[in-house]
């Protein structure tokens, strides 16, 4: 694909996004363009509105103003279920796996919308039921292999080590075949080794799936290590936006993070 055509039409195009809670303007005039295949960082101090933006992108909150275009299609105000089918998947700041379900079933939940058989087929154990379940098992195993989780397939999700739970959450999100993956603080609570492994995983899925990623992160090593561009948010407004290295050197940004 030529550089020009992708430059013209970003995968995610957010303009003038705002939301108010009570009297508080939590996000004000947010705008963002992410090109297909980019890895984009969203950073800022606590309470800057980063997760609120994720919640608006995924339909959990309805923005008061603004337009969200995904691949040229207006998805503003869509319900969360529709947004997933539109092509956005996400992970959560505090891990939200289906804790009591086996690892493989977590991935299969993500696969649900791509596989169909009737309830009648499942009740009467018809061929289509068995065939589709087998296909889903195989597809889920493929994902587990990519994320190096296949040895845990029958573990309860809650019993996985922390770093693996984060990986499983990404695997589950990827199973929904998204165009855009949102990662909400994927490295939160990880030790340096786990963070390193996470960075490798993110690189790997970009390579494998050519996925576009927007991530929220506090770990500056991770952000400067893998994000090509960042947006810095402070008190609900954009402070700086651009190439990661330049933005992180900006005195205003340093001030917002560390203080005077």
């Amino acid at each position: 694909m030529s550089q020009e055509t992708t430059e013209k039409k970003p995968l995610l195009d957010v303009s003038n996004l705002s939301i108010t809670f009570g009297g508080l303007r939590a996000v004000d005039g947010f705008q963002l363009q992410i090109q297909k295949g980019e890895l984009y960082g969203l950073i800022g101090p606590n309470g800057a509105g980063k997760t609120t933006i994720f919640n608006m992108l995924t339909g959990v909150y309805k923005p008061n103003e603004g337009v969200i275009l995904l691949d040229g299609q207006d998805i503003t105000g869509h319900k969360t279920v529709e947004i997933n089918r539109d092509g956005i998947a996400r992970t959560f700041q505090n891990i939200r796996l289906f804790q009591d379900m086996p690892v493989i079933d977590n991935v299969k939940v993500g696969l649900q919308n791509q596989y169909h058989y009737s309830i009648a087929a499942s009740i009467f154990h018809l061929g289509s039921y068995r065939k589709v379940e087998k296909e889903m098992d195989d597809a889920a195993m493929e994902f587990l292999k990519i994320f190096d989780l296949e040895k845990f397939r029958d573990y309860k999700a809650a019993n996985l080590p922390y770093g693996q739970q984060r990986k499983l959450e990404i695997a589950r999100a990827m199973a929904t075949k998204p165009k855009l993956l949102l990662l909400d603080e994927p490295a939160a609570g990880m030790n340096p080794n786990e963070t390193k492994e996470l960075m490798d995983t993110i690189e790997l899925i970009r390579e494998k799936f050519g996925i576009t990623i927007l991530l929220i992160e506090h770990d500056m090593k991770l952000v400067s290590g893998i994000c090509e561009k960042v947006t810095v948010l402070n008190f609900g407004r954009i402070l700086r936006q651009g190439i990661t290295k330049e933005v992180l050197r900006d005195p205003e940004v340093v001030k917002a993070y560390i203080g005077e």
Binding site: V60, V81, N84, A89, F92, R96, F98, D105, Q112, S122
Partner: protein
Amino acid sequence: MLSFLNYLISGISLGSIYAIIALGYTMVYGIAKMLNFAHGDFIMVGGYAIFTCMITLGMNPFVSILIAMGVCLLIGVGTEKIAYKPLREAGSPLAVLITAIGVSYLLENLALLIFGSNPKSFTSVVSWSGLTLAGGQLRIQGVTIVTIVVSLAVLLVLQWFVHGTREGQAMLAVSQDRGAATLMGINVNHTITLTFAIGSALAAVAGALLCSAYPTLTPYTGAMPGIKAFVAAVLGGIGSIPGAMIGGIVLGVIEILARTYISSQLSDAIVFGILVVVLLVKPTGILGKNIQEKV
């Protein structure tokens, strides 16, 4: 000894009916996070549907049960869509609970209006007379055996459905984290509708078995078993399918043994006393999970 065995078996049989009703309570609670207090009255609706088909219209018992399951399914899903869903979406769990009580009275009074207050005498759907063991000293009625077998089959099929199928996995996912399930593209409303459909159809089965074992049918037939099944669901751990089964059977056995050996007037008091004790000692029930609060 033999008479004890006899009472034990009828306890298990009554408990199996409670278990089937409790399954409806527990599934709806697990997935929609609401207590459907009208669930007991779905049993009564099922009972009248079977009565109308089988006795008034003279249809085959098996066909009558299938029709009753369809009727209960429609009433259950309809109630959910009309009465519960709008309130659930308005985010008011207490209003849903009160509405459920309202639906319960509505169904009872509709039945009163249509069928009158005179008890209908029900003919058992099971024509098999049962087994006689130990040289005629131990007689087990056909309906008792059928009840136990049916409830075990229902449990096994449900367990398989929930753990082995796409729809079942969606149910589990919604019950564990509704928000995350939605964001994975699962249609929560569809899943809740399916849960009500299954629970209500099971209520018709429970109605058939209950009215066969205790063959009088009034508009209030479902109320007491419904409440006891709720106790059974809490006893077993609400939200848990095997828990509902265990809770139901334990409750049925205790009720029959208490009625026989302690006092027939006190048996209900003992049943509800058990609920109090369970809530004090293990609030999550026999198979319920301990909720660990994260600080």
